[in-house]
Symmetry: D2
Subunit: 395 residues, 4 copies
Amino acid sequence: MTATSHITGKKINRFTHIHHSTEDLVKKSKMGRLLGSLTGCCFQRCVGMDAMNALSMTTYDIDQKYGTQYNKHFLKFLEYVQENDLVCDGAIVVRGAKCHQTGAVNSHEIITMPTISMREEDKDYAISFAVPADTEGITYILGRQSCDTRKREEGTMDRGNQIYGGHEALVVFDDVFVPWDRVFMYKEWDFAGQLVEQFASYHRQSYACKAGVGDVLIGATQCIAEYNGAQKASHVKDKIIEMNHLNETLFCGSLACAAEGHKEPSGTYYVNTLLANVCKQNVTRFPYEIARLAQDIAGGLMVTLPSEEDFRSPEVGKWVEKYYKGNADVSTEDRMRILRLIENITLGTAAVGYLTESMHGAGSPQAQRIMISRQVNMNAKKKVAKKLSGIDVDE
Amino acid sequence: MTATSHITGKKINRFTHIHHSTEDLVKKSKMGRLLGSLTGCCFQRCVGMDAMNALSMTTYDIDQKYGTQYNKHFLKFLEYVQENDLVCDGAIVVRGAKCHQTGAVNSHEIITMPTISMREEDKDYAISFAVPADTEGITYILGRQSCDTRKREEGTMDRGNQIYGGHEALVVFDDVFVPWDRVFMYKEWDFAGQLVEQFASYHRQSYACKAGVGDVLIGATQCIAEYNGAQKASHVKDKIIEMNHLNETLFCGSLACAAEGHKEPSGTYYVNTLLANVCKQNVTRFPYEIARLAQDIAGGLMVTLPSEEDFRSPEVGKWVEKYYKGNADVSTEDRMRILRLIENITLGTAAVGYLTESMHGAGSPQAQRIMISRQVNMNAKKKVAKKLSGIDVDE
Amino acid sequence: MTATSHITGKKINRFTHIHHSTEDLVKKSKMGRLLGSLTGCCFQRCVGMDAMNALSMTTYDIDQKYGTQYNKHFLKFLEYVQENDLVCDGAIVVRGAKCHQTGAVNSHEIITMPTISMREEDKDYAISFAVPADTEGITYILGRQSCDTRKREEGTMDRGNQIYGGHEALVVFDDVFVPWDRVFMYKEWDFAGQLVEQFASYHRQSYACKAGVGDVLIGATQCIAEYNGAQKASHVKDKIIEMNHLNETLFCGSLACAAEGHKEPSGTYYVNTLLANVCKQNVTRFPYEIARLAQDIAGGLMVTLPSEEDFRSPEVGKWVEKYYKGNADVSTEDRMRILRLIENITLGTAAVGYLTESMHGAGSPQAQRIMISRQVNMNAKKKVAKKLSGIDVDE
Amino acid sequence: MTATSHITGKKINRFTHIHHSTEDLVKKSKMGRLLGSLTGCCFQRCVGMDAMNALSMTTYDIDQKYGTQYNKHFLKFLEYVQENDLVCDGAIVVRGAKCHQTGAVNSHEIITMPTISMREEDKDYAISFAVPADTEGITYILGRQSCDTRKREEGTMDRGNQIYGGHEALVVFDDVFVPWDRVFMYKEWDFAGQLVEQFASYHRQSYACKAGVGDVLIGATQCIAEYNGAQKASHVKDKIIEMNHLNETLFCGSLACAAEGHKEPSGTYYVNTLLANVCKQNVTRFPYEIARLAQDIAGGLMVTLPSEEDFRSPEVGKWVEKYYKGNADVSTEDRMRILRLIENITLGTAAVGYLTESMHGAGSPQAQRIMISRQVNMNAKKKVAKKLSGIDVDE
């Protein structure tokens, strides 16, 4: 998970990396999937990296046009981040606060960016900068997640994922001071749209991580099929194939937009934006169907299972033990653990990341559809159609 | 919601009703939807009614074959239930315990039935009877539901549905005494399959209730679209149409199997079993897609919203109030309430009923597929195909 | 297929029937499916019946408002049609011509109706009347259908459906004389929309016929699975179940809108318009998926099969015979016949009816979506959602 | 479309190319799409190239194991093909004949290969060789295609695609002589499965061409939307976005399996087989949905349009001209031409390639599902799931 910085020449965490080849972009897709499969939830490292790659390009372009020093600011900041191996969060400022900011509380730095294309009259909002996450004046208000309080209960089985989890926050900026050398854009409103589009495109590639969470869910589903003694039923096998097929289709989009990347003037490699949007659009659909199939195979027990407290209780534990035994070779406890993990990913805390965030993170579905319609070359398609049907085409 | 009993001649709750016409079956479909829409969750009345209608037919048929008195037992029990307007739960006994029993704790009576077709060597399990829910020897172990502990928190906003909810239980029978006149089947193993199939078919019709919960979710989605100020976007309107289309398609199956019902020898009207299975099969799919579309329109806020406690807090409540304001005509609180309801139905306690129970209640999807393959008249279809293609067909 | 006219008291073809009960509407759904399964194509009788039922209601309503005599005109025409058992075609006039008119050439009478809701300035087009199909001044220009010329070849195997077929025509009216007592609407522009909506709603119910064509395609698919020796493969069985499930779901919509019909002031029974639109919307989708699954099971041979001429040829017939033999109990000829029938319904002349006409007949998909959005009671849904989430609702 | 042979060092057609890098594999995906978009149908060059790449690897491996000379035979044949720039067809021999052989009649060489994994007792069929297509003893029996006879009519409009088309044939081998230096496998039954799997994997990548045909269909659909004056309707725009989204998703699979290719011992680069199967599985689905959406937007006119003969006729041509005029800026003829092209691709001769061959070419859907289930690393997925849920995993 480390790479050599081509700024500082030192070993750095890959998540503070500026992409220098399409091979490197492909590695980002694979790394995202791998970490998704190791954590089974949103591991929230991509957003800072995506923000920094976008800034590496846009700061360069602003400097070219206006003779500013933003790229220098940015490189200095990048060096600091790489030296100290910091986690960054990419927020897009909207008048003093940023809603639903994933992983805000476990980030070292908050990088702010504008949120949409802007016109000249909006220029006061065309601002980008980085500040340490604990800067005075910043308040974090945590969002509630489905089943969040299970993490505070005694026992750990009921939380499903025993090791990892995520959070979301409303981040409020109330008179926060930003030093000038931490500023990457200041009123260059004509670059706001470009920065947003670049950030969004990288970030849409990043959803390879959901293929990793999909790996976990598929693995859990295969386990429960075996624990239920149903793994040889043809419909069960077919549904698991479908889950894999959808999961790999999703991953193909992330790989393809990386392999088709190209070099920008700043030297940073940029993903194919059409295919990055296609990738993310599939992410807004397939995890829901994969989750539905997981629930199909898991069986109703996934939502009717008694609590760990009842399972451990001297009065009724024996009955839970006896009546929830499936495959004779597997303990009731292991069966319960896998069911809780499936509940966690399809209804519980991790469903927030695997489902709803897959829908809205890096832009809601309609945002990708608009980009797809803009990026396909419709004139080329019309021309071949006309030619083949015998309609005159001006060459 | 009342009807006149054609046993006792008195006004009774429609849920203790034996169906006496196809019109009556159609009313059952509509009543199910209506109650689903009033409660927004599983209201758990259908299962006892479905069990009693199935028993009204099978007890009659057993008596015809074996000269037994089960129908008399059953009618006496029915009269008691109608006189006292009791809620019944239909359990299907599996060796001393019944897993995931919806609504067990709020039922007056437990009606047990066999679970599958049986062979002669299984006859000791071919048993059906009714006992009061608080009979000595019965233990209930409650299942956990996603977000169940929110009901015990201070404040009520975060629970989503302020009024109704459901539960599931493992019901353990440990030396329970059953009086003879409460017995409806005793070792007549050759009628076990029939009783199960009849109960399952009625119960698959009952899933009209999910169209009612769908009504609530569609209504909530329309509200949040308005509260977000997005209700005029063409893609939002189109998605809401799709939600309605799927919801009504699901309902059509329940209506059609009722309208196509017929009278059995016992006098009870029975649904068209092919169409009842088709209805339920759609229920295992459409609510998931309706829920996905609801999350699409609701926006990410549905899973990143702070708690009611933070909303009411003197320190940060003002920011929640300010930054989560959508449409100027709607209070932040109302917007939060609707988002919590959508969370409740798509991820929270009600998702157990709207999603996972739609998948597995009244039989998992594969059970319906097997029934569909058995009930279609494939020979008739092959015959018309052969005839039209010019292949000789023996008439 | 006959009924007693409640106008003339005589036995008539059911397709000249005015609906007098919901039972009668349900019979129409079933009759449509039956005839679809007997013909394997569009049998084109519904449109005239749907036009006449719509006219029976709208002429009555116009007369009530304006004191006209259209209902009398209509009843006289109906009696004439019933007495002579004529086939009618329902055209909707568009400035002198009607495009893609199904079955025009085999109809006795052309009933014209307006095409859309009108404003006062359009009143010259708010006209409805009936004329014999061979009236002077009417010209029919036949449309081409995929594979239409196979009907003119020697041999019949390659046409797929050996018995039935359909056609489409551009119908041009060039100074056609219409006697006054054949007129059902004349400039009552405010009733144009109603007539169109009623005709369209009946006609959307009529698509039960596609479930009949679906029966043929499913039967043919089961045959070819057996002829290929693949009928026991679990994925083949599962795909055929899916075909049946979709076909029955489609049929449920037609049954449900009929069973939920009601009596209009004229005495005619009218379908539930919401559910009729839901029915048709499914018809624009499911036949395509059923056809795709049929092609999956049929195998590539469906599109690579040599001609009947080669099969009968002394030079190469022996090889076709030998190498296209599947199941040893079935002749190569029968296997070829079934494959040609599947080709006919999924790509050939019958695909025009089973696919493209399912898409656009009785209104293109978007027309139904608009009607669905208008007909659902969104306020009722919003109200239950608000109530359950704790938002004040004005009763 | 040329490359430099790394065998002969000369410029050659890319379709006689042995892949020497992942970049080269990616170019193959792109070339396939480009040619699909230029021809609008199956251009049938991939199969020979796929066969040759598979042979380059398997002949090498056989020689390594058995000390044979097949790779030398193969390289000599390759040089001959490259020198003369020949088109090859890849047939897989089945006892004397090969059914549905795409493009057989326009190939210079037929390369035969075994069809399935074999056991020792099948070794007489474990044979691979190349013969000129006009070798004595080979007979071609052409298959019928939907609308094939339109190519023989006067006028060209009705055939849709004015320039290109394809064909299928039954190829019968009747005592064909094969010189020994044209043999690439002879009874090495243990390599039959490998050769088939390699050929199939390359060939599943090749379906990028369908994204090219999809480009044509999308272009035609955009044209007809404009010609109908409907291109600004939001539902039309949204459906075209969906067509593009599906088309690009399909393409991503072909790109991804190429970018993830690797070098085999023979030096040839081989695609990622899991992703190649995922690619092809999507090809068995998406073109059908893209075709359905094209028909939705085209309107019913696509199947009811009169013939070119009627359009040119002095009697009725004026009415066709007048009544089929759409957008005032576009001639009726151009509108007809585009509709015929859409008919051609969704129902006519090109539908054979765009739909049915997408289903069955390079293996039917179930073949890919079996490969997907074999190639995913299910143990790795189970392991991460167990770990996260707290179940002991042996490292």
